[in-house]
């Protein structure tokens, strides 16, 4: 548990940087890419916090995120290419 502050700091900076792209992005696809990256980062953050709380039950939440978050992105993508 030495360096968890450093890891959290790096993750926080990464979240802020990707949030800049969400706000700035000229097209919707830019925003979607940034939200997708943020979801991936959040999965890592949840796993890290599960270790911090020392409880394995929190890993299930990260598992749900890892499996389901990509479906939202696919729904947007299929709409954009005129698919659904």
């Amino acid at each position: 548990m030495i360096g968890i502050n450093i890891y959290l700091l790096i993750i926080a900076i990464a979240t802020l940087l990707s949030m800049y792209r969400v706000f700035r992005g000229p097209t919707t696809v830019d925003r979607l890419v940034a939200v997708d990256i943020m979801t991936t980062i959040t999965t890592g953050l949840m796993v890290l916090f599960a270790l911090y709380y020392k409880r394995a039950i929190f890993l299930d939440v990260a598992l749900v995120y890892a499996i389901l978050a990509f479906l939202g992105v696919i729904a947007f993508a299929r709409y954009l290419e005129g698919g659904i």
């Binding site: 919707t28 939200v35 978050a69 709409y79």
Partner: protein, 93 residues
């Protein structure tokens, strides 16, 4: 410095900002993207508040289901909001 408090502040700030942008963007698809981001950060906050059940439900519903339902509605109506200024309906009563 305790970075756990620091990351809580960052996540709340980013969540409120994305809610504001979700309301103000004229493109409804971008608004739904903002709503997904709000749901994502709310799920992380539930996680910090020691409510893993609620975080899991919010993740399962907010990540895919809610966005998909809104996208089906947008597909059957129209994508862009027509932005014209005028007196609101509640002023003309």
């Amino acid at each position: 410095m305790n970075c756990i408090v620091c990351i809580e502040y960052i996540i709340v700030a980013v969540m409120v900002l994305s809610a504001i942008f979700a309301v103000e963007w004229g493109d409804l698809l971008a608004a739904v993207v903002g709503m997904t981001a709000v749901s994502l950060f709310a799920s992380v906050l539930f996680f910090f508040l020691q409510a893993p059940d609620v975080a899991m439900t919010e993740a399962a519903i907010g990540a895919a289901m809610s966005a998909a339902v809104f996208i089906f509605a947008i597909k059957r109506t129209q994508r862009y909001e027509s932005e014209e200024e005028g007196a609101g309906w509640w002023l003309r009563w």
